[in-house]
Structure formats: C-alpha cells, structure tokens
Symmetry: C2
Subunit: 235 residues, 2 copies
DNA sequence: AAGTGGTCTAGACCACTCC
DNA sequence: GAGTGGTCTAGACCACTTC
C-alpha cells in the first residue's frame, strides 16, 4: 500500500478548504514558497499541488501575481429550439446583445473531410467548409465549422446573418435531422481558436441539417465548457 | 517576446508526429530518459512534455510500462428520444445489452439541495435524492442523481427498471420540460464515482421532469466525456 | 525593487511492469 | 532483475506583476 504522495495530500487539504468556504472564490491562495515552508517540502512539491488544483479546475494561476480560487462562473445558457431546431441566443437577456454582432468569419474553402462528406452523402471526401467564431464580451466562446456540398462553394456569407441565416435567405428550408453532444479535452486547435489552456473542457455539438430529405450541411460547434451551456425547452 | 519553453516545443513536436500518423494510436512513445537524451535536456523537462500531452488527452501513461498514443475511442452513442424524451440505450446494438443490467443503486435519502428544490418548486431546500450508476463492461459510465419532492421519500426503487421506470410504474405520466447540457472538468466526486483522472472531461446533462404541469423530478447525469455521446434523432 | 510564478538542471530513491 | 514512470530535494535563473 503506497502512501499518498505529499503533493496530493497538500492539494486535497487545499481543496477541502476551498469546498468548505474557508478559501472563498476569488481569494488568493498561499504562495508556492509559503506552502513549501508550511508543509516542510521543496517548492516544486508545493507547486505540484497547485498544478493538481489547476488541472481539476478549482484554481487559476496568474503569472507573477499568485493563484486564486476560481470564481463560480455562471454559464451562458444558449437555448436550442426544439421546434425550429435552430440555435437561438436568449434566456439571459444580455446574450442576445452579445451574439448580435454575428458570427465572425474565420476561413472558408474546399477541404478534404471524409467524415463530413459521408454524413452529407457525397461520393468524394471533398466538402466546402466555413469556419466561424462567436464571441461574448470579446471572449471566444463557440467555434463552428460548417461543411457543405462542394456545389455550394460560391456560397455568400454575411457575418450579420450567420451561415444558417444565409442558407435560409437562399431559400433552403432546412431542419436538423440529428444532434450529438459530447465533452472533449481541448486539443491544440481548440487552444488556439477558443484561447483556452491545455486540458480545458470543450462541449461539442454536432448536427446534420437536411432540406427536402437531402443532407445540406454538417455543423460542428465547439464551445468553451466553462462558459457555455446548451438548453432545450419543451413547451 | 519570450521564447517557447523547451518542454512545450518537445510536446508540440510529439503532437505533430501523432497527428501525422508517424506515431499511430496505441504505439509507445520514447521513454522519458530517451527523450531527455535525444533533446539534450534533463529528464524532468522531457517528463513535463509528457504531462502536457497527457493533459491534452493525446497520450496515456502506464506506470512502469511507458506512454502510449491514446487509441481513438469510439464513444457510446446513447440516444435521447425527442418524442418520449426519455433516455434510451440503442444505436450501437451492444449498448442495449450493456445497459440492460439497469441502474446500479448508490445511495438514497433526504438531502439539502437548494438548487434542485427551487427547480422543483419546493418551499424548503430539502429533497429526496437517489444516486445511481450505469456501467458499460464494468466501467462506470454515467452517474445520475435524481431529486424528488420529500413526499416521495418512500419511493421504491428497483435497479432493473431504473428510477424513471419506477416513476412510470407508479402511474406518473411525466415528460421533460427542459434540458441543459454542459461540459465540466472532473471534480473530486467525479474522480471517485466515475473513476477518472483529475482533469478528465465530463458531459453533464440536467433535466426537469414534469407531470401534469407539476415538477416531479430533477435529474443530473454526469457522463464520462471520453466514453459517452448523447444523440437526438428527429424523424 | 520586491514578490511570485515559470522553466530548467542535477541527482536520488521508490513503485510498478514485464520478462 | 532490468526498465520505466512517480515523487522528492536542492538550487538556479528568468518572466511577469505590483508597488
């Protein structure tokens, strides 16, 4: 029976103090130096405990300043309408304002994407891909990737209306055939686009839009897990 | 402009080799010792690179054996029926078999839970809480927590039918009023119940069941992010 | 300038796996 | 028993924040 590592014990102790409210959200933890002295260990061992707490999402560290108990962040609830089956900002009033700026355009072009092409029922792996980003208060929040059949590659996109809005304007009467949600760890691309740390949680929502029974668009949205929740309300 | 840390550069290089297929899923990475020698750094620096890859979910490490590229794990797709609005195992055939064993009982009793009580429209913060666990191949997979009004505290629970099945048998004609999905980092409780590492992704699905317009049950399901995806299909 | 976290080297011993 | 990852100490210097 291996005894518990020192750094784990320290992390557990600090975690307990956070849970109990002894260290309230936003408060500063002892410095690594202070912890090292207090527990009689080397600074690196104390530091390891902080890494543990950071990885568990309990604490955030600011270089040169200190480590702080993470404030309980109220997540933005983005409603997903079960009838029209479209994303709609709402619920929290400010949200409508925040998302009103529309989808920021990131890139578009023909790409090889066998998975999306298969879902779209295409014979070749090539799709027309549009990548966009939604921000709230300037913070990257939801990264979307739309895959369309190559024949739509002259697709005109206006950020104000969004990709799906543009498809509607072009006369496509689409709806969702299916949705899948899952939770991922932020990969290198997420880290860059959503500006999160390695190890952050990402909420992934994937859907297939159909129009007259024909697949029209495959959408993948990767949302910052600490900022976004998706809500469906049934009437 | 601070130059990139050595360990980050090493992690990036290895990540690139994994993405390119040079290091295929399941293959073993060089040992920490070998990496240290190869890049001319101390073993701890090479180790730090491995920590980075592990945190990003690209690699898993087995003590005494080595670090391996994580196999692309096909997630269990649990379907969520938009009509009955109930969870149904399916899609992948084996799933029905795996979940057929029912919900393993974990605990039940009166608890203080102001959040759930508020959603249930109760005057007091007390609710009757039932905690269960679903396993697939013995692996903990979905941890559920049902909150009911205290008047239902004599609620009889049979694992084979599940909590919602039992409510149906008792004559409650319930349906979901709303659902929220989000992504979290595994906290201490998740680590224990779902048996995951600190830092693992957890898919959270929260819903409110109503019966004749009255709130009946508040459900929170915490699913292992690396194993579970929730799918809704519209006909 | 002082305080604090970030990176790195050097070296040691332990715990687990695999043969 | 050899190989490999896990933990820990000791000490150093750098980068960022705060005053």
């Amino acid at each position: 029976m291996p005894r518990e590592a020192r750094y784990r014990a320290i992390a557990r102790e600090l975690g307990r103090r956070i849970d109990s409210g002894d260290l309230p959200p936003g408060s500063r933890l002892p410095t690594e130096e202070a912890l090292a002295e207090q527990y009689g260990v080397h600074r690196l061992t104390a530091r390891q405990a902080m890494v543990e707490l950071r990885t568990s999402g309990l604490v955030e560290t600011r270089h040169g300043s200190g480590s702080y108990v993470r404030p309980l962040q109220r997540k933005l609830e983005v409603t997903v309408d079960p009838v029209t089956r479209l994303h709609r900002p709402g619920v929290i009033d400010e949200l409508a304002v925040h998302f009103a700026s529309g989808e920021e355009f990131r890139s578009a072009g023909l790409r090889q994407d066998p998975g999306a092409a298969r879902r779209l029922g295409l014979p070749d792996p090539e799709v027309y891909e549009v990548a966009t980003l939604l921000r709230t208060d300037e913070v990257p929040c939801v990264a979307s990737r739309y895959a369309l059949p190559p024949r739509l590659s002259d697709f005109a996109y206006d950020p104000a209306e969004g990709v799906l809005g543009a498809l509607g304007r072009l006369g496509y009467d689409y709806r969702y055939r299916s949705h899948t949600v899952s939770a991922d760890i932020a990969g290198p691309v997420d880290q860059e686009v959503l500006q999160v740390e390695p190890g952050a949680a990402v909420l992934v929502r994937e859907g297939l839009l159909v129009c007259d029974g024909e697949p029209l668009c495959h959408v993948v949205r990767r949302c910052r897990g600490d900022l976004v929740a998706l809500t469906t309300r049934y009437e």
